[in-house]
């Protein structure tokens, strides 16, 4: 009995555990990417142990894929050679690690997954306990299949009512960060629940759990239901909170929300869109592990269809994975983006972390659907980054300035 986290760990360990306990537990899968992978490999090699299980270790090339410098190519080479040496076949270069993990069914409801990336919390949208670790921790998992956890207390976010038009999972998560602050759920698990969350697609639930790490959470979780099981090929897991004790419950009235914008320079500097509407933009980025899924691209395509992006606002669209890309192609979204004058780049992290394409210059303003607006995140530390939903991003790309989608003029 307990919270979703306590339930998942109690089942895994075969005994009841509670928040505050320290445990060593086996994991289902350990993931690393092209930047954190080489350090994890170094840690593993220093242990001098055999590999735990080649089938349960996953590498993704996404942060700098394809390589744009010799240094990046070297990171890829190190990982490729390691995978050959240890017969690891889960080496993917088909999009953002988190979306690839979901697309390929590596994160399952009720499972435990660790990744050498902070946004590994994303898989909680499927009811999987997932958390980010550093490279040394992941290197140790490569050798042992286990790691230690302090079972976290849980913050419950109860979202009542229905989200209004033009308000999405991104706005809800930013609003929660506005209430709790960027370290508001530090060391805690977050359970997203309530009518508005139940009504969400898996894509939107993944967005909520993805952003949970950005207010300090160790994991974000949505209780698995029929929506989850349809996505997970019918796999049904009987997992519910059982007489849970929450450290805190935050109640959100979904119907009262406006589109939210996290304003430079902090993710908890969140405002209703009305307060910053009209701010001119040099770049718009639609993509990332937060908002690069089909649901997100559909929102952007609906707004960009028959319109052009503003000449002063370079607009970059990056599907989260090859699967998303193919679905977006089939749905006609990619053609809509290209006709609107947006640049569609290969699946991956794209401009989110300022390491490959779409880097922003000093004094520039960028609106991004990603998850971090720290100074320097996307390029120059003197650039300003605004975070918002794909709908706001698309409307703002058309207007060349931050724009509420509801206020965009009808296509003539």
């Amino acid at each position: 009995m307990g919270t979703l986290t306590e339930e998942i760990f109690s089942r895994r360990l075969g005994r009841t555990v509670h928040a505050g306990d320290t445990v060593v537990a086996g994991v289902d899968v350990a993931m690393a990417h092209d930047v954190t992978g080489p350090l994890a490999i170094e840690a593993f090699r220093q242990l001098g142990s055999p590999l735990w299980d080649a089938t349960r270790i996953v590498f993704n090339f996404d942060h700098v894929m394809p390589a744009n410098t010799v240094a990046a190519a070297e990171l890829h080479r190190v990982i490729r050679e390691f995978c050959v040496e240890y017969s690891i076949t889960n080496l993917f270069a088909e999009g953002i690690c988190h979306q690839v993990m979901v697309d390929r069914g590596m994160a399952r409801p009720g499972g435990i997954v660790v990744g050498a990336d902070s946004h590994s919390t994303t898989y909680g949208g499927l009811g999987c306990f997932a958390t980010g670790l550093g490279s040394t921790d992941i290197g140790v998992v490569f050798a042992t299949g286990k790691t230690w956890f302090r079972i976290p207390e849980t913050v419950r976010i109860d979202v009542r009512g229905a989200l209004p038009e033009s308000v999405y999972a991104k706005d809800l998560a930013l609003n929660v960060i506005r209430h709790l602050g960027s370290d508001g759920a530090d060391y805690c698990a977050v359970e997203w629940t309530g009518e508005a969350v139940r009504a969400m697609s898996v894509d939107e639930r993944l967005t909520l759990c993805n952003l949970s790490t950005d207010f300090g959470a160790k994991t974000g979780l949505v209780e698995p239901d029929e929506v989850t099981f349809r996505h997970a090929d019918g796999e049904d897991v009987d997992l519910h909170p059982v007489r849970p004790e929450y450290a805190r419950t935050l109640v959100i009235d979904a119907g009262a929300l406006r589109p939210q914008i996290a304003v430079h320079p902090a993710i908890d500097n969140v405002h209703d869109i009305d307060e910053v509407a009209g701010t001119p933009l040099d770049e718009v980025f639609i993509g990332s592990c937060t908002n690069g899924r089909l649901t997100d691209l559909a929102l952007a395509a609906a707004i960009l269809s028959g319109r052009n992006v503003h000449p002063r606002t370079r607009t970059i669209v990056v599907p989260a994975s090859r699967g998303v890309y193919l679905d977006a192609l089939a749905a006609g979204y990619i053609e809509i983006f290209a006709r609107a004058g947006a640049l569609v780049l290969n699946p991956g992290c794209g401009p989110c972390l300022g390491r490959q394409h779409g880097v922003v210059g000093p004094g520039e303003r960028v609106l991004s659907t990603s998850n971090r607006n720290y100074p320097g995140r996307m390029g120059s530390p003197d650039a300003q980054i605004f975070l918002a939903s794909p709908a706001v991003a698309a409307a703002s790309a058309v207007a060349g300035a931050i724009t509420d989608p509801a206020h965009l003029e009808a296509v003539s």
């Binding site: 350090l39 220093q46 550093g134 040394t136 230690w148 971090r372 720290y374 995140r377």
Partner: protein, 169 residues
Amino acid sequence: MSGRVFLLGDGISTDAIMPGRYNVTTDPDALRRACLIEARPDFVESVQPGDVIVAGRNFGCGSSREHAPLAIKQNGVAAVIAAGFARIFYRNAVNIGLPVIRCEEARCVLRDGDHVSVDTLRGEITGPAGVLHGEAPSGVALRVIEAGSLLDLIRRGGWAALTEERHVS
């Protein structure tokens, strides 16, 4: 250990400590040179072994990149003292043997350039205004520190070396 204070603010992210554009390597010296390159451009050229970083809330928030604590450690920093740490940074620092101390008042009491001595196991910081009592790692983190690093702990006895703890409230 003793040294000078480098005072930083709240919410120093791993993007500030090790910007993504410089974080395309595992070479410790390349990481050392890029440490705080934009947030505190004077850091790398003036830091001396034994110096400490004193900061506010949520130090090391953001990316899980272990390159960030590694870069700080490579600069010879004796301890990072912050009002609060982001979870992954704290765990990474402990894993690689970079001392971390939680101390709410250090950033209010100490000034940039102050000379302090630090007892990293007791969490004591002695500076111009006397002794500050911070919180050094405990529990599993302390076990890792006593072993030297997570790799040392695992090499010496694997996970069996780590006794699980039941929380008593």
